[in-house]
């Protein structure tokens, strides 16, 4: 589709930048400034490449595009195989879009070990992009796990007072899920006899339904922890609260989506029968997550924690959409992943901005801020409304489609989930009222500066997107829909195909990979 290896370029630009940073000394302020500029250049370059990919993306083609393939470990059928479709494209754009913003925000906020910080963020970007473009299980797993280390450093080195506890908890939780996925990948490899770790090959071959249950469970557990789906969410508030702002932005904006992306790309289409069987359980957990997350968010007195719990609630919507098994749910799910990244990313940035001024995030320490920081307040209100899902802003489009999908699948889930929207209005507006509007600003808050130029630059792109996607979502929806439809066909069609009676033993010596057609 393209002569240039754009995907590889995009994925590895940040990595190269991070490695080159080793040669940038950050001993003095000038050096730190150089390191910041340097990493900004590389992350912007990755963004530019991703925009090129967006421009070159063929809308009406549902399969994988921008495919690149190189042999890696031929004996085991492992290859460097990357590509993207309408499901991964929005998430890739989100990643390359949020990383420069995170870097820009950290420009003045991070003074300690600047070079290492920039390296961690750049490595993290490579890891996240790699996850979204990998079409080989081995490659996928390498990015999936490799990405943990920079995130762990971000939380652990630049985080809050309980950062070490939070970072280790984050690591162990995610790792515990992903190692079981590794076992499942290996099992899949030997049980299907496909002799390849290529995801596309495995997606096109039905897995015997006697095997699907365990394999789906292992994959889904790994992704459910990442999402995080209730009741695997307990690492999230700790990680979010302790992480530095940029870390929270990336964590909420992109990392959580890796869980829902994994469900969508791997767990569900690989094991459609099992996914169907577990669908109700997942929808129940998603709805519990939506309501529970909202209720817990409501009683938080720490703004960052509130936003963190709201993530549990919002990601519940995504899972609900995916397991609705219809086009509305799937499309809305992908869209909501992007929307959540934008609005929650903005909220974390705003909380970070006020934290860096007052060194507190407690709601009770504020009140009447709108009078002191009018611009900040405007941004805060817009981001909050986007998160609530006000029509005209991006959050509405995603949530509405998901709810429509859930209703057509099962009205009970639809009704219950809708209450989550109401609750989100409650906790967000209540927080706005207490922080921005309620009461007189205390003496210490009277001296707060309003937003500076750099902070404007961070927030304006996000707000533009909020309105853009809210008023005219077509440019992104039109890219998602064909792939979502193809995904749905795959999930549904294959359900029928595997229901033919077969012997209960896993087939160990079936099928060569030759029969598979690739786009």
């Amino acid at each position: 589709m393209s002569e240039y290896p754009l995907v590889t370029l995009m994925v590895f630009l940040p990595l190269v930048g991070g490695l080159l940073l080793l040669f940038v000394r950050d001993g003095d302020e000038a050096g730190r400034e150089r390191a910041r500029m340097f990493s900004m250049v590389f992350s912007l370059a990755a963004f530019v490449v991703s925009v090129l990919i967006y421009i070159g993306f063929q809308e009406n083609f549902a399969g994988m595009q921008f495919l690149e393939r190189a042999s890696w470990i031929p004996r085991f059928g492992i290859s460097y195989h990357v590509g993207l479709d309408g499901i991964s494209l929005p998430l890739i754009l989100l990643t390359t879009f949020l990383t420069p913003l995170a870097l820009l925000f950290s420009w003045k906020e991070v003074e300690k070990h600047v070079r290492l910080y920039q390296m961690a963020l750049l490595f993290l970007e490579t890891g996240m992009l790699g996850v979204f473009v990998s079409l080989d299980f081995f490659l996928f797993y390498v990015f999936w796990e490799g990405m943990l280390i920079p995130m762990y450093l971000l939380i652990g080195v630049w985080g809050g007072p309980r950062r070490i506890y939070a970072s280790v908890k984050f690591f162990l939780y995610t790792m515990a899920g992903s190692v079981l996925m590794l076992v499942a990948i290996l099992w899949l490899y030997f049980a299907t006899g496909a002799k390849t770790f290529d995801i596309m090959v495995h997606l096109s071959q039905p897995v015997h339904h006697a095997l699907q249950g365990w394999l789906f469970a292992a994959f889904a557990l790994s992704f459910a922890i990442k999402v995080p789906l209730f009741p695997f969410h307990t690492w999230l508030p700790d990680a979010h609260v302790e992480a530095p702002t940029a870390g929270s932005v990336i964590l909420a904006g992109v990392l959580l989506k890796m869980g829902t992306y994994g469900l969508m790309r791997l767990a569900m289409p690989l094991f459609p029968t099992a996914a169907r069987e577990f669908a109700t359980a997942f929808m129940v957990l998603a709805v519990i997550g939506i309501i529970y997350g909202a209720l817990v968010a409501m009683v938080q007195d720490d703004m960052k924690k509130l936003v963190a719990y709201s993530s549990v609630s919002h990601l519940g919507f995504v899972v609900l959409g995916l397991f609705s098994f219809n086009l509305l749910g799937a499309t809305g799910g992908v869209l909501q992943m992007v929307n959540h990244g934008i609005s929650t990313g903005a909220l974390f940035l705003l909380v970070g901005m006020i934290y860096s001024r007052r060194h507190t995030r407690m709601i009770q320490d504020f009140g009447g801020i709108a009078r002191v920081m009018p611009v900040f307040s405007v941004f805060f209100v817009i981001a909050s409304l986007s998160s609530i899902g006000l029509p005209g802003l991006n959050g509405f489009v995603g949530e509405f489609t998901i709810l429509a999908g859930a209703f057509s699948r099962n009205p009970v889930f639809g009704v219950l989930a809708t209450s989550g929207v109401v609750l989100s209005a409650v906790y967000m507006l209540w927080m706005l009222q207490r922080v921005l509007f309620g009461g007189e600003p205390s003496k210490i808050n009277l001296s707060l500066r309003d937003l500076g130029v750099r902070e404007w630059c961070v927030l304006v792109p996000l707000v533009v997107l909020m309105f853009g996607l809210g008023l005219y979502p077509k440019p992104i929806l039109s890219k998602i829909e064909p792939s979502a439809q193809a995904w749905l066909n795959k999930v549904n069609r294959r359900v029928l195909r595997v229901q033919s009676p077969v012997s209960p033993r896993p087939r160990l010596a079936k099928a060569s990979s030759g029969e598979v057609t690739r786009p």
Binding site: G146, L186, Y189
Partner: protein
């Protein structure tokens, strides 16, 4: 009565001969010339090892099947060749680490390097024979050298304690091993594994309790050497007391050799012991991983932590041993790949411990590493790479190694053992990462706030060792294909 002279393939004996003669040469040079020139002895030892590696690779390159010399006492096949390279590589790195540890040179003496070469020859013997007695002789040559190395700093009480403990327990283990071999001889009428297999194959009565008991005692003896639970008690104490460079040496090569012998025994004869034998190995593997990892969590001394970690790694390799019969060559290949990566990452980690402790006596408490990421950035980054690799995270070699072994085990059908193993790796992440926590997330203690370049004053040896180790860990993690292939071709034994 005619006597047939057994065949001898001299070219294939060459690596072993080079190492033995090299050991004698180093010892003699030191004794007669008393040159006190340590650099010369180090260079000579490295030369000996490097040329033996070269010869081995040369003969493996165009090897079809293999050769049997001395009627089975010396078997040279691809498996032998790979283990040879592995062992000599570990020795090579250990020599560099020993050369970097200044305290080993006080008083100056060259026998340290001669002992390493003798131990290397013992390990090579163990790996290259299908004769039980040769395994024993190899093990003794290795062990006696190791006992001395463990107590090499003879003025230090801790070292003496370590050496004595190691010796006493090791002597017991050798006794068990020999007793087991005697019983197998009693049951099968031979000490040659091929003959034993032939006898057991035709004579089902020979597969009785005496054979099983013999096999069990061999498991005890070799289990002691590889620090498998419940024969692991010596490990933390010996690792803590012995000189760090010697620990680096004894943590890799001897394991490789003992496991090589273990694999030959399991692949050639243990099939006749029935499924219950594999169940025993299964349980030992599971226990070894778990005890090692859980034990490591609570350690405050880095050498003790690495001791428990080495127990855990022996557990992962035991998983490969359990799968050895069921997975074809894959498990054996997995073992080879694993130990290769392990040599790089573990000796590398010990090398960092040596360097970190070089200036102010041995710094072996984990808290001594506080803030090292900022006071000695290069050294800390390298240590972090080794820790991440030991934890089995991509993109390091440790991940591919685990991937290989777990693949083999799943291929052989041991899914639950693999589940246990991966959950154990999650536990292990906790303590490996703790070092990263200490190095990067805690502030340096007291007056060491000035940044120092990592290798100042450590000399070229440490630099070379770390360079090789890091290159190995990263190379085997990012471009594992060729070596994986080579290991797979080496995974088939020649009889």
């Amino acid at each position: 009565m005619t006597t047939t002279i057994p065949q001898i393939h001299w070219p294939h004996l060459l690596p072993l001969l080079v190492v033995v003669l090299g050991a004698v040469a180093v010892l003699m040079w030191d004794t007669f010339f008393r040159s006190r020139d340590r650099a010369f002895l180090v260079g000579l030892t490295l030369m000996v090892l490097a040329s033996a590696v070269g010869i081995t690779l040369g003969s493996v390159a165009d090897l079809a099947g293999g050769s049997v010399s001395f009627g089975g006492m010396y078997v040279f096949d691809r498996f032998t060749g790979f283990v040879f390279v592995l062992i000599m590589l570990a020795s090579f790195l250990s020599v560099l680490v020993a050369a970097a540890q200044q305290s080993l040179d006080d008083p100056p003496a060259g026998e340290y390097f001669a002992l390493i070469l003798f131990a290397t020859s013992g390990m090579m013997l163990m790996a290259s024979t299908r004769n039980l007695l040769m395994i024993f002789i190899g093990l003794e040559i290795l062990s006696l050298s190791l006992y001395v190395l463990a107590g090499y700093l003879r003025t230090q009480a801790a070292g003496n304690e370590a050496a004595l403990k190691y010796f006493l327990l090791g002597a017991f283990a050798s006794g068990f091993l020999l007793f087991g071999m005697a019983m197998i001889y009693g049951a099968a009428g031979s000490v040659d594994l091929a003959e034993i297999a032939k006898h057991l194959n035709t004579n089902s009565a020979a597969r009785g309790p005496i054979f099983l008991l013999g096999l069990g005692l061999i498991v005890v003896g070799l289990g002691f050497k590889v620090a498998a639970v419940p024969f692991n008690m010596w490990t933390p104490d010996v690792y803590e007391g012995a000189p760090t460079a010697a620990v680096a040496f004894m943590s890799v090569g001897p394991k490789a050799a003992a496991f090589a012998a273990f694999f030959r025994i399991v692949l050639m004869a243990a099939g006749y012991a029935g499924a219950s034998f594999l169940v025993v190995l299964w349980v030992i593997a599971a226990l070894t991983m778990t005890v090692g990892n859980v034990g490591a969590i609570q350690q405050t001394n880095i050498k003790r932590m690495l001791a428990y970690s080495s127990i855990a790694h022996a557990g992962y390799i035991l998983v490969a041993l359990v799968a050895a019969q069921g997975s074809g060559a894959m498990a054996t290949a997995g073992f080879l790949y694993y130990v290769l990566v392990y040599a790089f990452m573990n000796i590398g980690a010990f090398c960092v411990v040596v360097i970190a402790g070089e200036n102010e006596g041995e710094r072996t408490l984990i808290e001594d590493y506080a803030g090292m990421g900022y006071t000695r950035p290069a050294l800390a980054a390298i240590m972090a790479i080794f820790m991440v690799s030991l934890a089995g995270l991509p993109p390091m070699g440790g991940f591919v190694a685990k991937f290989y072994i777990f693949s083999a085990a799943i291929k052989a059908g041991y899914v639950w053992l693999v589940v246990l193993a991966v959950l154990n790796s999650v536990i292990s992440v906790y303590y490996y990462l703790r070092l990263i926590v200490v190095m990067y997330m805690q502030e340096p203690a007291g007056a060491e706030n000035q940044v120092s370049t990592a290798f100042a004053g450590q000399g070229a040896y440490a630099f070379a060792a770390l360079l090789i180790a890091v290159a190995g860990v990263l190379g085997l993690g990012l471009f594992p294909g060729p070596v994986m292939d080579f290991a797979l071709r080496s995974g088939v034994l020649f009889n």
